[in-house]
Symmetry: C2
Subunit: 110 residues, 2 copies
Amino acid sequence: MGATKTDHFTDKQNEIATLAKALGHPARIAIMEYLLKVDTCICGDIVNELPLAQPTVSQHLKELKNAGLIKGDIEGNKICYCIDEKVLNKLQAYFGNIATKLEKKKTDCC
Amino acid sequence: MGATKTDHFTDKQNEIATLAKALGHPARIAIMEYLLKVDTCICGDIVNELPLAQPTVSQHLKELKNAGLIKGDIEGNKICYCIDEKVLNKLQAYFGNIATKLEKKKTDCC
DNA sequence: ATATAATATTGCAATATTACGATAAATTAT
DNA sequence: ATAATTTATCGTAATATTGCAATATTATAT
């Protein structure tokens, strides 16, 4: 095997899992944090910010883009990447909801 | 290669990535949601809730536990699993912080 | 003591991920 | 036109993940 059985789970579960998986690598967390830090999103220097080779960074960017976490537009011979606010709000809402439910649930047995 | 270069990133980045990675599978999202749904955390029927074989579920539970997302205590011949509220608050805080920063940053260029 | 029940571990095959050198493609500068 | 710059893609090796059958472990019930 090795392939995830996505068809046995709900769309929402698969969606959250896909987003989480995309963030499941420190390089991709670092990319997100860098995109958040720089004020403009015309950023052609992500490679220099990371301790990884250019093809590796390009691949990580592609994964973040595939998951919908970032958007990228061609800007001359550079590429303008930035975080998709909508998707991040979705993640915030998801974890916020869980945290709230956990707080209400006072049965702290473990 | 194939191994993540964790030593090149900050502890915080690695920590968030580890948590996200653990949640990066629909079965593990489903497990978290089930643990959230049931009121008591003495739950010996996680396997029946999932469309996966028992060893597979056990492995997913182990990964969630390794990441620190859930706690498990032996309760007779069953196991009492439940979500670690602290860790989930950490995730909520992390994504909440990003979402807030994105909102303030009005340079929506992409 | 033996059987039953619940969970974990082992071993393994199929597949996915990570990383990077080499190379390609596209744009800008000279 | 040619060179330099930036990003993407291809190919490939090393490693990790996913899933499950078989088996082990541990606790309860008979």
